[in-house]
Amino acid sequence: MRKLWPWLDALVWLGIAAPLLYLSWGLWMDRLGANPIQEITHQTGRWTLRFLLVTLALTPLRRLTGWNGWIRWRRRLGLAAFFYASLHLLLYLWLDQFFDWSEIGRDVLQRRFLTVGLLAYALMLPLAVTSTAGWIRRLGGRRWRRLHRLVYLIAALGVLHYWWAVKFDWRPPLAYGVVLVILLLLRLRWPFAPQTSSRTSRPLARIASERPPDRRS
């Protein structure tokens, strides 16, 4: 198993970078259709939701498989979601509104899909900031975990943002919503689940015990 880690890690990194590479390639080769800016904006939004859902799938996967290894990628995938959300927001601020802040303010207050979208992003900020080992130590596992439960709300707001943003074809946002609901239901106590070693999260302890790289030598 240990020998596999580097390969699995590389695979996860590739998965995180792939959408960005694809969109950059598409932009360079002019393969994103007649309205590439809108295409990239929509795609980064969808990839934010996908990475959020994948992140939320790790705990149920751990329960179903009894293997703790999944959690190894949780932080990385959560930060990937944050990265694509940042791109998504930046594209709106820059290429849609050209940093016209008064218009942006009006737009966000007036259109509920923008209001919930921005709210979801604002809630992601503290989670991204406290994703480091130092912050886990500083907050303590219990408080840190409580804070990071915000991810459920963030994912729900993200789906709502998508739902309200589409003109009329509600099928794609519905699909994301269904997956989210399933992932949340799988979190309920499950009588047949294989016992994971304990309720106190080992992976979290492992992350918290990491030393900053500069002190490692």
Binding site: A34, D96, F98, R106, R111, F168, D169
Partner: protein
């Protein structure tokens, strides 16, 4: 280098044309799927010959025509129009068509007729998008009679000097350049004169978002999109949206005394 019209007529814009590629691969035509590329991929299923058009309702000379017979009396002309989608993008399209007014005069609407209603083909086998109940099929649009008679309003059968591609509404579609694109109904099989304002497909789907008039208007926000600006396909910066899509001089008189916020 984008093409322009050498000798623009009174109804033409002299702006550079959007590329044929973009016009024919970036479409909203939900009958063939809701993605922008779906229509260009799926519209080959549509058989545009034979094609029958019915002219009916409150008129003295109703009739059922084969497409060729329907078009025959009219002279085709090129009209280069701005095209503004409600989603905030726009194009410049060289249509080939003829004024709807000529069709209306030939049908001789009665004095009761106040509106014209248009209907798209309904055939889920050819139009697979109609198997999905996202809209109340078939697609229906409408114009007030004076809007329909306006010289800018045309029925188009081609673009870029060629036959209309299926994804652009073959074999015959409406083009009303001062209204949002969805008013310009595609693949028409019925033109009907009515007394009451028709309930259009988008009004039925979302009455708060889509009104009957749907005139391009930067001062009336759509709940989903600000309509102040638009991105011309092929351009990077967004540009300001013009009242009546820049056709105010020609059409503003049609709406004199009307509250455009109420009649959006």
């Amino acid at each position: 280098q984008a093409r322009r019209k050498a000798n623009p007529g009174p109804y033409d814009t002299d702006e550079p044309w959007t590329s044929y590629e973009d016009i024919t691969t970036y479409n909203n035509f939900y009958e063939f799927g809701t993605g922008k590329r779906d229509p260009s991929r799926n519209a080959h299923r549509l058989r545009t010959r034979p094609w029958t058009i019915r002219v009916e309702g409150l008129c003295h000379r109703p009739g059922t025509y084969e497409l060729e017979d329907f078009i025959k009396p009219y002279t085709l002309e090129e009209r280069v129009y701005r095209f503004r989608c409600v989603e905030g993008w726009s194009m410049v399209i060289p249509w080939l068509g003829f004024p709807l007014a000529e069709v209306i005069r030939r049908a001789e609407p009665t004095s009761q007729a106040k509106f014209v209603e248009f209907t798209t083909l309904y055939d889920p086998e050819q139009m697979p998008g109609q198997k999905v109940p996202i809209l109340d099929w078939p697609y229906v649009e409408g114009l007030r009679l004076d809007e329909a008679m306006h010289p800018l309003t045309i029925l188009a059968v081609g673009l870029y000097g060629k036959m209309l591609p299926n994804q652009n509404g073959a074999p015959i579609r409406l083009v009303v350049p001062w209204k949002y694109g969805f008013k310009s109904i595609k693949s028409i099989v019925r033109i009907r004169f009515v007394e009451k304002q028709p309930i259009t497909t988008w009004m039925k789907a979302a009455p708060h978002e889509y009104g009957f008039y749907s005139n391009v208007n930067p001062n009336v926000d759509h709940p989903r999109w600000s309509q102040k600006t638009e991105r011309r396909i092929g351009e990077f910066r967004k540009r300001k949206t013009l009242l009546f899509n820049g056709y105010a001089d020609q059409v503003a008189h049609l709406y004199e005394g009307m509250d455009l916020r109420k009649y959006f």
